[in-house]
């Protein structure tokens, strides 16, 4: 309706277009760990602002979120979640489990989506005692799925098949890094946007680590 259009609320699916396409988010779980990797470009139109962006936000000691989509929304929404989760942990003495956090975020995104345009895609990864590592795909429409391996954005077109071919349930951290290198190579060769840098983070029972890429 005209009124809905005037207020900026999406009136059709076509209007809600994800910008996450440009951000490459890759994630998978392995033997006692979960890994996230993203590109490091911050760009708009033909201009590259930075190639040192860290798109993986650490939510707490054992959870992290790779975020892609419309700039500013990609900061505001995850930060809002992060602060509410910190409040929960302070109030209740324990942090939310990864499963609960994923559902909480999905619910909030779903609520927000009926009120405004927000194009933020996320990959949530966490390690819980007794449960192990887990990966949750939450896209801008608040669809959520727990997965073993996935890629968001245009990266998906290039690396989902690589992940399918080379990931296995008991993949080790070293093998995981090799798999990521295969993914980066594919993106750098075939994706028309130049992505020279990637950042990799791992979570396991001891917490979150930033991994260095092996020298070429």
């Amino acid at each position: 309706s005209l009124r809905a259009a005037a207020s900026g609320v999406p009136t059709s699916a076509v209007q809600v277009q994800s910008m996450a396409g440009m951000d490459c988010l890759i994630g998978f779980v392995g033997q006692g760990f979960a890994m996230l990797a993203t590109d490091r470009n911050a760009a708009r139109s033909i201009m590259v602002y930075s190639q040192k962006e860290d798109k993986i936000r650490e939510l707490d000691s054992h959870k992290m979120l790779a975020v892609g989509g419309d700039p500013a929304d990609t900061v505001q929404e995850p930060e809002y979640f992060q602060k509410n989760m910190a409040l929960y942990a302070l109030r209740n003495g324990v942090p939310l489990s990864t499963h609960a956090a994923a559902n909480y975020m999905r619910g909030e995104k779903s609520y927000n989506l009926r009120r405004r345009l927000s194009a933020v895609d996320m990959l949530l990864v966490g390690y819980d005692e007794g449960v192990g590592p887990s990966l949750y795909f939450i896209d801008y429409l608040a669809s959520m799925q727990q997965l073993d391996k996935t890629a968001m954005g245009y990266a998906g077109f290039f690396v989902n098949s690589t992940l399918d071919a080379h990931w296995k349930p008991d993949i080790t951290e070293t093998e995981g890094l090799e798999l990521l290198e295969m993914c980066f190579a594919e993106i750098q060769k075939r994706f028309m946007i130049s992505m020279p840098n990637f950042i990799i983070k791992v979570v396991d029972k001891d917490g979150i680590r930033v991994l260095e890429r092996p020298p070429k």
């Binding site: 209740n92 324990v94 939310l96 499963h99 609960a100 559902n103």
Partner: protein, 259 residues
């Protein structure tokens, strides 16, 4: 100066009775205390924490022979799959709180897709109860509650809350009539690391000793357990047959102890 006479103190306190939300000069909240007084006339309810479960037991006050037996218990309620509750006090007030508790539990489940940790549920309810002691000019709820539940962080738990909005975690506790006698009995008999079967026996034993009726029959009390069955929390109210079995076992125990 002379301390006020008993009459004078009574007159003074009457001045503060009419407002629930203010302190008396001695720093007391009279309405909260009067609410607890109301609860002390209600049927006893007690809880015992075991290693493998929690027991809730309550005496039902028979107010009239003409009463139709209620379809559901007026003492025991299920809040969610993993939390149950026994109440003592004004039933109408209890219904409001039980409903609120159920709403809290489901809202949590809706947001997090996980059962609400027991203490959090208790805390939320207590926050509501506290509000009635501080603002609004409404009287406090005339109900004390025992909560029995299980969650993945702390396992089996037993909590008690009262009209003031305070709560505590307990190994064994009771509310309602004969609270002092019941508490001292529980203190004597409770042992740490007790198993559910022993906890059930303890509950029945204590209830038999402190019940108003001279002979306890299964229709005069409710007894329920919260346990883990195949990894899922199970709340079960014992049938009259099971209740009778427990009574018989308790009678045997006392008989052999006396012999």
């Amino acid at each position: 100066s002379e301390r006020p006479t008993r009459d004078a103190t009574a007159q003074m306190s009457r001045r503060y009775d009419s407002r629930t939300t203010i302190f008396s000069p001695e720093g007391r909240l009279y309405q909260v205390e009067y609410a607890m007084e109301a609860i002390s006339h209600a049927g006893t309810a007690l809880g015992v924490l075991a290693t493998d479960g929690v027991v809730l037991a309550a005496e039902k006050k028979m107010t009239s022979k003409l009463l139709e037996p209620a379809r559901s218990s007026e003492k025991m309620y299920m809040i969610d799959d993993h939390v149950a509750c026994a109440v003592a006090g004004i039933t109408a007030d209890a219904n409001i709180l039980i409903n609120q508790a159920r709403l809290h539990a489901q809202r949590y489940m809706y947001n997090y897709q996980e059962p609400q940790p027991v203490e959090q549920l208790v805390q939320r309810l207590c926050d509501e109860k506290q509000a009635y002691t501080q603002y609004g000019g409404l009287r406090p709820f005339g109900v004390s509650m025992l909560y029995a539940g299980w969650d993945k962080t702390h396992g089996f738990q037993l909590y008690q809350s009262d009209p003031s909005g305070n709560y505590n975690g307990w190994k064994a506790t009771c509310i309602g009539a004969n609270e002092k006698a019941t508490t001292s009995l529980l203190k004597q008999e409770y042992k740490d690391g007790v198993a559910l079967t022993d906890a059930l026996q303890l509950a029945i034993k204590v209830l038999t000793k402190t019940a108003d009726s001279t002979t306890l029959t299964p229709d005069k009390f409710d007894i329920a357990t919260v346990t883990l069955v195949d990894g899922k929390v199970k709340y079960s109210q014992l049938s009259e047959v099971q209740g009778q079995a427990l009574l018989d076992a308790a009678k045997e125990e006392t008989a052999s102890a006396d012999a």
